[in-house]
């Protein structure tokens, strides 16, 4: 009996020992520990700014500079973006004076496809350049482009975002609803508030319905007054500035309508007027006369010109957009971020110049805007990311660390 008990006990010992030796204590899971479970899956919905578009182009290098990617790094969370093969689609401008683009032989129609290594099931940055409020939740939106397909592959931004089962989202949509109308001087073509609200509500409602419990930040629309591609008409009283414009449109010569363009003029001129003058008389061109108010010979003084009344019209519309976005954020427990505080500060301190330095090859629009005068450059993306971190920490009691600004 004694012998048998010892035998059984011994056998059990063998079994236990063998089990202990063969059990894998850990299956080697190496997961990036996010700084807060809130950020387990972060997605960024947006347009060109969020996608990482700079200097009228986008490639892997600029994509890596998006505020959304910077924010994800501070969250220590996975962030996949639809990387484009360099030099990009289309390659960014590398020299403002020559308008040369990144990559030998690149033009404004050059478009390289997705980097094969970036083809993944789940994207975190689903933003598409050009997207407006009517695009983010529509399969074929009004701003559908090559990049829409390359980035989304037949899905909508919202559907693509939901694939990631997001716990946190930033949404920056709306700038394109008003940007082109402002730059081209036709504010009446901006998305009406009612349409904007319908589009925006559908986008956010579908996002929240598809990801119960999701938190995030809704980002307001930037005022076009803070975008340096719209320069002060007063600059046309500066002969040196006009000489610079003439060099840009050569062999044509610009005629400034001095009756409307005075040193006290408050109108803002869209810089694309230069390309339009260069193209004249082809379709889409503009006569080489620049007037700073509407004239008896349209489109002179109308197209590419935002007079004081039109500026107010645009500003009021943007304020209405933002009031809705803020209310929407409040209603779903999201934070709201108004980028105009930052832009106003940069404008007030002259870091967003009222008049571009058209003699500069690398920084015509100051230290925070890229060479197209519309899109923030890398330094500005850092400021935006830091502002978002402030907003997120305040709203969600998190402790994201800010990025160094130097």
């Amino acid at each position: 009996m004694f012998r048998r008990q010892h035998m059984i006990r011994g056998a059990l010992t063998i079994v236990s020992l063998a089990g202990a030796l063969s059990c894998t204590s850990d299956h080697g899971v190496i997961m990036t520990p996010v700084v807060n479970p809130l950020f387990r899956s972060y997605v960024a919905i947006g347009n060109s700014i969020t996608a990482g578009f700079q200097s009228d182009g986008i490639n892997d290098s600029t994509q890596q500079r998006s505020y959304a990617l910077l924010l994800a790094r501070q969250m220590n969370t996975r962030f996949a973006y639809p990387s484009l093969v360099n030099p990009g689609c289309r390659p960014p401008i590398a020299n403002f004076l020559t308008q040369a683009r990144v990559g030998t032989g690149s033009t404004s129609t050059t478009c390289l496809l997705r980097n094969p290594a970036s083809v993944t099931e789940i994207l975190n940055n689903v933003a598409v350049p050009g997207a407006g409020s009517g695009d983010a939740d529509t399969p074929v939106g009004p701003a559908g482009s090559t990049l829409t397909t390359l980035f989304l592959g037949g899905k909508t931004q919202v559907a693509k975002a939901l694939d990631a089962r997001p716990t946190f989202a930033t949404v920056w949509i709306g700038n394109n609803d008003v940007l082109q109308p402002a730059i081209t001087g036709i504010p009446g073509s901006a998305t009406p508030l009612t349409t904007f609200v319908t589009n925006y509500a559908k986008m956010i409602n579908d996002l929240v319905a598809g990801a119960p419990g999701i938190k995030g930040v809704l980002i307001g629309v930037g005022q076009t007054a803070n975008i340096p591609i719209l320069f002060s008409a007063a600059a046309l009283s500066n002969p040196a500035f006009v000489a610079g414009l003439n060099a840009a449109v050569a062999p044509k010569t610009i005629v400034v309508d001095v009756t409307t363009c005075t040193p006290t003029s408050t109108a803002r001129i869209g810089f694309p007027i230069i390309a339009a003058i260069r193209a004249f008389p082809a379709a889409g061109g503009h006569p080489p006369t620049i007037a700073c108010a509407k004239t008896a010979t349209p489109p002179i003084g109308d197209i590419f010109v935002l007079d004081a009344a039109e500026q107010i019209q645009v500003s009021d519309l943007v304020n209405s957009y933002n009031a809705y976005i803020r209310a929407k954020a409040d209603s779903i427990g999201f934070a709201y971020y108004d980028p105009n505080s930052l832009l106003n500060t940069l404008t007030a301190t002259g870091q967003i110049p009222a008049v571009p330095n058209i003699g500069s090859a690398t920084a015509p629009y100051g230290p925070y805007f890229s060479l197209d005068g519309v899109h923030p450059n890398t330094a500005a993306h850092i400021l935006i990311a830091n502002d978002l971190i402030t907003v997120i920490n305040a709203k969600f009691a998190t402790n994201l660390q800010k990025l160094p600004t130097t």
Binding site: T13, G19, L150, G154
Partner: protein, 468 residues
Amino acid sequence: MKVYRLLRLSIGLVALILPGGVAAAQGFGLNEIGACALARGFANTGSPCKDASMIYWNPGATTTLPGWKSSIGVSAIALNGDFKQDTTGRTFEQDAPVAWVPSLFVNYKPATGKASYGIGVYVPYGLTSQWHDDFPGRFRALKASIQTIYVQPNFAWQINSKWSVGAGPIIAHSGVELIQGIDLSEQLTPTGATFGQLGIARNTEFGRVRLKGDAMGFGAQIGAYGRLNSEWSVGARFMLPITFDYDDADATFTQIPTNLVLGGTVQPPFSAGTPVDALVAPQFAAGGKLVAQKATTKITHPGQVSAGFGYTGVKNLGINVDYAWVGWKRFDVLPVLFPNAPDTTLNRRLLENYNNTSSLRIGAEYTLMQPNFRDWKLRGGFQAAASAAPAETVTPLLPEQDRNYFMLGVGVPWGRYSVDASYAYIRTAGARGRIVERTNVAQTAAQLNTGVYTLNAQIFAVSFQASF
């Protein structure tokens, strides 16, 4: 003292085999052949269960079975596995049905003479891995099934009072079925770029392929058994590998709607508003690449070697220990070829790179002597088995990983009949694995693995024995 020597020996074996990096293990092998053997932790070579399943466990030991012996049994294997994806945190459950593994053995040993004759029908290899339609690894395997049956006539010869040997040819039939999603992102467009480069997300299923075929194979098994004295017995067996050439498998394709609509124009015919399903539909029509056709594949069921001893020096108690080796290194590449396809883009050579494996099996059997339970058997066993698959080959096809088996069983005699019943629980700790294809050997587990597979199983087995 003998008990302690036995313990020391057993512990030494465990220490020698398990932590030393010697792979031990399973792949798509099945050892659930006979409820008695299962309950004894598969430690059944050196002192096999006294029934006709010896034909598999040790063909040389069947001379110890007097008269006619038959055994019929079945094991039910219920898998419970899942995959937790890193990127989404989602857990995808397996959908494998309960697998039924039958066995049948008949043996005859004349009262006089030294020979015994028998035949066994059993399933030493098999696999069913099945997932739900939304499983992201379905492009490697939505369903993988191998159903193999070995038929082994057996002849054994008693050399003398202690030693006997046995052998038999094996005629084997194997059926294979593989269902995979087809990933649009990996397909080539007319310009040479992949659909993925045009923005189609990885794991966009636009079609599904089903391969089904069967093949015959031939092998053999030999065994030796020795009764050293009244307390110790030893045994060994060797089963040849069998290669199955599935040369005439049927491949059928089904289009799966993606419901994608291109949001912008890239290049004709990839224009804004174009439904992706319309773009790819011609591939599934006559003249397209994804139409019913023949396919071939080849799978080798590896050879096996096992050796062990049994000890009965303690009253009413038997202790069994086996060492088993399986030549899984032969499962190196799994080719899936379409010889009649217009090009070679459908062909796959799945890198498996399995390792040979070893495992330690420990079992015990206690015989009750109480009047109401006379000759009832209580059995227990344990097997520790490390994975045959390297870290970069833990896949939906077979999420192979280290396993521990814990077994219990009972044998109930009833005149010339007896019934054995057993239960086993298979536990794993989980293993990181991949859901993408490994296209070259330079790719590491760290680069490929994007989630964690867990796998547990419960096995119920029952066998009926009859003596004549």
